[in-house]
């Protein structure tokens, strides 16, 4: 409970609005730092950990916030900016097409020309000699390659009609039995089978046992075959761990929860909206631990459009003095 004694309500509300605006600004300005860093380091290997560090974002969640706010992944943005820079170099520099191709990250001028033509309709040599040729803008957040300047702001991707029912919940620690799955999410059924068939004879599928999934990687960034996912079922302290099953605690705390209704294939869209739109406009900070999902129905006997998944995003405690 917030203690309001001594602070007139109006002033309190002003403080709250100010804090919120400040946090939104903070998401924007931190992302602007990342974008400038990317612009200045287009020739370097841009690793996500370094980018997250540049803006003091949780390394777990940086990429989801990024692609949610920008509407494209870091990889896509970098590839696009390198091509835009190449277009600018074609027009304004004397560099050879091969040099430009290599600088844009292509192995040969052939490969570069193919991609460049697909984007502009013109071969690089023709583009160079056509006065009116422009490189098309395909960025949703109007971020374009700029020379000798710094980006000062941008329009984050906001869908006006999108309503997100996000609840802030205090979650207790959850002890879970789990099986780790590494590979595409579509094949995590094997982990669930092993977990359920091991726990069933022990009488552990009854009561209020919850089916929980913990994903450690962003499928937009990590190769499908390397995605780590834990299939978990909540157990109590008396659980004796069989050989092939792990045990761990999902750390409690403040979480933002949203229900995703529909196919599991579309979970990533809800994640993107939660991180890119809800979080960046809220006065909350995501904590440096993974999200988890609670599955409320059985995918075997439920139509995909009726599946309900509660997504929990961890929040930093005592954010801006709030409990």
């Amino acid at each position: 409970m917030l203690v309001l004694w001594g602070i007139p309500q109006v002033i309190y509300l002003r403080i709250l609005i100010f804090m919120r605006t400040r946090t939104q600004q903070s998401y924007l300005s931190r992302m602007v730092n990342v974008l400038n860093y990317i612009q200045e380091n287009l020739d370097n290997d841009l690793c996500l950990d370094e980018l997250a560090k540049q803006a003091c974002f949780s390394r777990y969640h940086f990429h989801r916030i990024f692609s949610g706010m920008l509407g494209e992944s870091v990889k896509e943005l970098v590839r696009r900016l390198r091509l835009e820079r190449a277009a600018s170099q074609l027009k304004t520099s004397g560099m050879s097409i091969l040099q430009i191709s290599l600088a844009a990250g292509y192995e040969s001028d052939m490969a570069f020309s193919r991609v460049f033509k697909a984007k502009t309709g013109l071969l690089p040599s023709v583009f160079r000699n056509t006065l009116k040729a422009n490189y098309p803008c395909s960025s949703t957040a109007s971020i374009r390659y700029i020379t000798n300047e710094r980006i000062s702001s941008f329009e984050p991707l906001i869908e006006e009609e999108l309503t997100m029912n996000v609840m802030i919940k205090q979650v207790d620690d959850i002890v879970v039995a789990f099986v780790r799955h590494t590979g595409p999410y579509q094949t995590c059924g094997q982990a669930w089978d092993l977990l359920c068939s091991t726990l069933a004879p022990e009488g552990l599928l009854g009561g209020d046992a919850k089916m929980i999934g913990v994903s450690y990687d962003d499928p937009d960034v990590v190769d499908a075959k390397e995605l780590r996912y834990d299939a978990c079922i909540s157990v109590d302290d008396s659980f004796i761990q069989p050989d092939n099953i792990g045990i761990q605690t999902i750390v409690g705390g403040r979480y933002a929860m949203i229900s995703h209704i529909g196919s599991y294939d579309k979970l990533s869209t809800t994640y993107r909206q939660l991180f890119g739109q809800w979080l960046s406009q809220s006065d909350h900070e995501v904590a440096d631990k993974p999200c988890f999902e609670i599955y409320l129905n059985d995918p075997e006997s439920t139509e995909p459009e009726d599946l309900v998944t509660d997504i929990y995003m961890p929040l930093k405690e005592n954010n801006h003095g709030k409990n």
Partner: protein
């Protein structure tokens, strides 16, 4: 081994017509638990929990032992009145019900005992020993899809009764509901429930 999906195999038993139709549902096996009380009451919810706990424990234990796999079917519930009065005329706390999940006949009594003992040993799901395997024949029924809140089912039931009367059929003082939607999540006005009324 092929996974058995009784709901799909017997699609004809689970048709969802917008107007009443007459169908015949043959004998089938069900995991079931009986009780008295209003749907949504503590007893009712405990029975739902016990039935599901048994269904999944039996399925996964059998799977572990290489006895094949099957899909857990939708929850069905038969409701009837303990008196001569109609269900709508008596207090819901007096409603008698049987909650059922259609289950392959290969599931043996020993599977049930084993599952109930394991669950009871953990003590978190009471009434698991009341879950039994039952053979049941609905036989001739009027069936129709109800879309909307459970409280509004009497409109659909009235329609089904009128239909039965027109066909000179007598409805028994009971009906069955097959829950297509998840009431925890689907807004009441969009809930889908198959209503089934045995007639003779």
């Amino acid at each position: 081994m092929e996974k058995i999906d009784l709901y799909k195999l017997h699609k004809a038993d689970y048709i969802q017509p917008k107007e009443p139709v007459l169908i015949k549902i043959p004998t089938a096996h069900y995991l079931k638990i009986d009780g008295t009380g209003a749907p949504g009451s503590t007893t009712f919810d405990a029975a739902v929990m016990a039935l599901y706990a048994m269904a999944y424990t039996i399925k996964m234990t059998r799977k572990k032992h290489g006895k094949g796999d099957y899909v857990i079917c939708k929850l069905e519930a038969r409701y009837w009145s303990p008196t001569e009065q109609c269900l709508s005329e008596i207090d819901k706390s007096q409603w008698q019900w049987q909650l059922m999940i259609r289950t392959p006949s290969i599931v043996a009594v020993s599977d049930l005992t084993q599952a109930a003992d394991a669950l009871a040993a953990k003590g978190k799901t009471p009434s698991v020993h009341q879950v039994k395997m039952n053979e049941f024949e609905f036989s001739n029924c009027v069936q129709m899809l109800h879309v909307g809140a459970y409280e509004d089912e009497h409109y659909t039931i009235k329609k089904m009764l009128d239909f039965a009367n027109k066909k000179n059929l007598t409805a028994k003082r009971e009906h069955c509901e097959v829950y297509i939607s998840d009431p925890r999540r689907v807004p009441a006005e969009r809930l889908k429930t198959i209503l089934r009324m045995p007639v003779s």
